[in-house]
Symmetry: C2
Subunit: 339 residues, 2 copies
Amino acid sequence: MAIVGVLGAGMMGSALCVPLADRGHEVRVVGTHLEGPLVERLRAGEPHPGLHVRLPESVSVFPESELDPMLADVDLLVLGVSSAGIDWASERIAAHLRADRPVLMITKGLHWDGVALRALPDVLSARFPRGIEVAAIAGPCIAGELARRSPTCVLIAGHERPTCERLADMLRTPYYEPGTTDDVIGSCACSALKNGYAMAYGFAGGLHERSGGEPGTVAMHNLESALFSQSVLEMQRIAVALGGRAETVAGLAGIGDLDVTNNGNRTGRFGHLLGLGLSVDEAVKRMHGATLECIEIVRVMREAKHALGRVGSLPLMDHMAEVVLDGAPVAPPIARFFE
Amino acid sequence: MAIVGVLGAGMMGSALCVPLADRGHEVRVVGTHLEGPLVERLRAGEPHPGLHVRLPESVSVFPESELDPMLADVDLLVLGVSSAGIDWASERIAAHLRADRPVLMITKGLHWDGVALRALPDVLSARFPRGIEVAAIAGPCIAGELARRSPTCVLIAGHERPTCERLADMLRTPYYEPGTTDDVIGSCACSALKNGYAMAYGFAGGLHERSGGEPGTVAMHNLESALFSQSVLEMQRIAVALGGRAETVAGLAGIGDLDVTNNGNRTGRFGHLLGLGLSVDEAVKRMHGATLECIEIVRVMREAKHALGRVGSLPLMDHMAEVVLDGAPVAPPIARFFE
């Protein structure tokens, strides 16, 4: 069994400790400099305040001040911080990088630097010394379900397949099944884009309610499913333009993650509010400060569109931009879907 | 504008009259020999008992006894009967088939004759004189939503692309957007298989409830989405083995139709009951006589598996067969998903 260091005690980092501990690894969670009070609670044996479950007893939790001794001899480094914390985290672990110590990112997605859209693991990898392997976990995984050992399938995305297979073996339990893929950019495109497209799925329910309808079998499910299908088509076009594969989007990283995000997530609720006819400002206010990755990815995609080259028609992405950036009313452009 | 004859006054045949009438066509619905009382009600201006909406005033409804005069001079024949009525309907319209009069099927799917799995439009086409074009409508379309002019995207699947384009033009309204495809077998495979795989999606909710969980954000959504993604993968393998295209499954005919079927349909409720631990007999009883296409397609796929040749691994289809045909308990084989 291995020693695994997890940097970040947030929901996803903590949830991943459950299969790691069940697999018999020694798991050390190190909180960030912002997670002091959270670390205190976890060390006192309280339930994780985001997950509402206790971490397994074999998981040890440490404050940021103990990062260096705790990560010095690990076999695997897991980055469990949010994308906002990636810069901090990559500097903080620099002293502990080694060629035989892969970095596994829970945060994944795309990074836009004004010139190119790149996969987050590749951005990190470029900062590290040569030979440090960086992989990411993609696919449908609600942290609260994983923490309750609910059956979950994911993909380990990395350029070195043998490393991905080894990581998958380290993580596999009867309820947590990791496959592997070398399509890093395709997987990361899915992770980023699904946040935008899940908002579009939410448009349908809002439009239905706005037209006086009640939830039920006869709602705007035809429209929802057309939006789902169009989302997959556009995600494929974008992923391929970035150098990824269409089949990645048609799999767990794409439709799997999009489907789970469509299931009652905050992004869908935000799209629902916009479909109801609320302005973006009103809808943001109603979300009580929730992080809305959907606005950010739509903004990035508008800025980055020229960087995609010959990407083909993206009528739904264009419409989302008109809605959230220009204040246009929600009216999915179905007549453009077969362009 | 054209004259359109619709054979069958059921929910989907009647719903399709709405865009046809809105497009300005003369629409004549002819009920089957089993639909006498339904025809009476519709002729009296009552709401359609399945759709709970009135047909547009410009739609004329006729009893089966008036079939011959009413279909003698139409430009398009629409078959709105269920798959059980296809044999009867194909004989009944035989006298009205003409090379410049395409047949558009609302019923679609696969036909198993003990030797080969074939697309229903091709089975019908083979019975007709040479030169009669048969197309089918695929994609996510709940009849009750179409009848209420809720936005709906579909695919017209046929071997002659110009005919499909012409049919799409005849049907297109601001709320009904038909695309076209020449992948008839792929589209029909999706239509048939989604009934089985939607049952598997329902397993997750049942398993969650059985384990004491309540509906909510933390349920078994990770599993649901893994089942969705695996369903698409297996549908692609089957469609390709039959001569269809993987991209058809990744589009409106596949993931679109599967997503809409996952939305509160009877198939999902049946899967939910099985996930709860009910036997197949008990679950069938609870469904109060609803048609369960899911059992039929799973039975056909087991019988027809050798006819598929080198289809690849189908662990979820295998599991569904074990559950509904052999009485095995529901336990999705996620460890086999990445075979």
